[in-house]
Symmetry: C2
Subunit: 395 residues, 2 copies
């Protein structure tokens, strides 16, 4: 039969990153394409111990239906840690456990965006979120990125001139794909703009604790006094992404709406792993674990920066990021990133062309995104050497 | 701040069942309200063994990001079993793993229903699906239920007269809440109507294998030759609901759309438990496990039917279902089910009033839904005795 699909999904295509991810399942390809954490960063031994005990002592509960808000001890431990370490959350806020950070975007978009409504986003930005907003028929308006974060003047112009602006979507810290950090001054201005134009903000913050140098900058949420920020957090980068655990912290009124749409979306998030995460947080120091993970990633970031300086100084320009998982490289010749990725792919190195993160799919983006967390040091060196060869061939 | 939520979620309220579920966390209450499987039906020992091996041997894969289609071996094993046992699936079909049966409804609704589009549903029907369709701003039209399933003449009238009918949502086997089975003759007519009016069908079939008496009736999907049926299956009732594993089997074009919206919804379903389920299906006989589960539930169904006959024959009328998890009781006096549930609740027995499953929330539904899978035999007897007292008090 001929299917008459809803108009909202008409323009949606599979994510370029996902398609590349499939190609890179070829083990001979060096992948700088994905956003995967390093497997050595998963606390496997600890999770196994907890899982064993859950199966022995609490299986009837852990395998049964749970509530849509999430497992209460995990909600409480998560909220307490956010408050104590980062001053995130007020007495008017609440917290819901969701199936990864992606689901925060999905359910928040569903709650706020009518078809045709406008959402302001950094340009470039994370493709998974952009496609999520597109899947609700939203109108995306890109605001340029500067070295210290979003162009706040351009943001204000858009707030003044665009119709039906319902949300701003920002990744203030270790932005994906650029790796940049929004300055504190800009954070304060963004919050002022949110207040003046009465537009709430999604603060997507999955990389916040993956800082390898420089100083912590306060989150938007910690500076938010009147419920303007919907904070999206994730355990993907600090425990494991495959378990799909994220959370939203926002005003109680917003969380109550998220609970309702969570119920009709997938009822609740895998309860067994919510319990594993809660037990992990109770028994072990997540801070110490994160410090170990950061030590690994710091070395990998530096190894990739060194290799790019060694092999690609004449062809690529980059700023080494203070954290996160990505290096954003500009192609000095101005050629489009797709051309470079095509050549490098043939040499056995996968990267993501900048166009994947652009708001306008028809634009030219002379950049590529490189992930440094997943590869070994040997792969980083060899991959950068091949990338340099590809960049010189591209000219 | 004042939040300006999307119009589609304006009318959504937390599910009555979920709210009741919370009340029944009081352990002194006998709950006939939930739809929970019995914990003794979870294959805990087998899952633990597999989990141990995964942590030891394949943790780097099992805890990493996966693909949105689902873990390939689980997709293949699920599709093969559906085909071999129930003749479900054609060469034009594909299968995606989703986070429980609920997510099949969510993503299918997102792919097919523009705001204001019509979906035809059985009346009464499963509240979780009804609220899901409402959350996309759909127009729900209820079609009455008869003892042998949906009123097919009324269904045809609706197909003729309603505007923009985009989907039919049916639970043909052990319908929730009525427990009824659609006859084979009606199934054939429903498929003819789907063809004549060019409207695809969601066949929601979570209870199919929980049959305690009578003969298997072929699924709509197994009778579907040209891709009209989107089949929603679940491992919740045969393995465990807390792990959130379900699947959709449908034409490749439909599945490709579901994959795209799955990507932007939650990326993929918890990979670790997808792998546990795949290993379980490889190593053990799910058929034998289901036979054991059915033996438990058959006894419980019979115990509840006996107790209702003993304590409530003068006040409640019911037909013992051939499978599923629910007994649907009509109140002989014609009083609304809410009144009975209020009185029985005070006596320590929770049930769900029929209104929870009605399409028109303003109607009167002189019925209640009782779950028999979760309670012990002692609770079933005592709960029905208290329910009988409540029904006599109601008058």
């Amino acid at each position: 039969m001929n299917y008459n699909f809803a108009s909202r999904i008409g323009g949606l295509k599979p994510s370029a990153i996902r398609e590349i991810l499939k190609v890179t399942q070829d083990p001979s390809v060096i992948s700088f394409a994905a956003g995967n954490p390093a497997p050595e960063a998963f606390p496997v031994k600890e999770m196994k111990q907890i899982a064993d005990e859950l199966f022995d002592e609490r299986a009837a509960y852990a395998l049964q239906y749970g509530v849509s808000e999430g497992y209460a001890p995990l909600r409480e431990l998560t909220a307490a840690r956010l408050k104590e370490k980062y001053n995130i959350g007020t007495p008017d806020d609440d917290l819901i456990i969701l199936s990864g950070g992606q689901q925060v975007m999905d359910l928040t978009a569903k709650c706020f965006l009518n078809e045709g409504d406008t959402i302001l986003v950094e340009d470039p930005s994370f493709i998974g979120s952009l496609n999520c907003f597109r899947s609700y028929g939203a109108h995306l308006v890109g605001i340029p990125m500067e070295p210290d974060g979003i162009d706040v003047d351009a943001l204000e112009r858009a707030l003044k001139t665009e119709k039906n602006v319902k949300l701003m979507y920002l990744i203030p810290t270790f932005q994906n794909p650029t790796g940049r950090v929004m300055s504190l001054a800009k954070r304060r201005r963004v919050l002022e703009l949110s207040k003046r134009y009465d537009v709430p903000i999604i603060e997507d913050n999955p990389y916040y604790e993956l800082r390898y140098s420089g100083e912590y900058v306060p989150t938007l949420k910690s500076l938010d006094t009147d419920g303007r920020v919907i904070y999206a957090g994730s355990y993907s980068k600090v425990l494991s992404p495959g378990i799909r655990l994220g959370f939203a912290c926002a005003n109680k009124e917003v969380i109550s709406k998220l609970v309702v749409v969570k119920q009709v979306s997938d009822v609740h998030t895998n309860l067994f792993f919510q319990m594993i995460a809660a037990e992990y947080l109770s028994r072990y120091s997540l801070d110490e674990h994160i410090a170990q993970v950061c030590a690994i990633y710091r070395e990998k970031r530096d190894a990739m920066a060194d290799a790019l300086n060694k092999y690609c100084a004449d062809t690529l320009h980059f700023e080494s990021p203070e954290g996160g998982l990505f290096l954003w490289c500009d192609i000095r010749s101005g050629r489009d990133g797709r051309d470079l990725c095509t050549i490098s792919g043939k040499k056995g190195v996968a990267a993501v062309p900048g166009i994947a993160f652009a708001i306008d799919p028809e634009s030219t983006v002379p950049s590529i995104r490189l992930n440094f967390s997943l590869s070994t040091f040997e792969q980083i060196d060899r991959g950068c050497r091949l990338l340099g060869e590809a960049a010189r061939e591209l000219g």
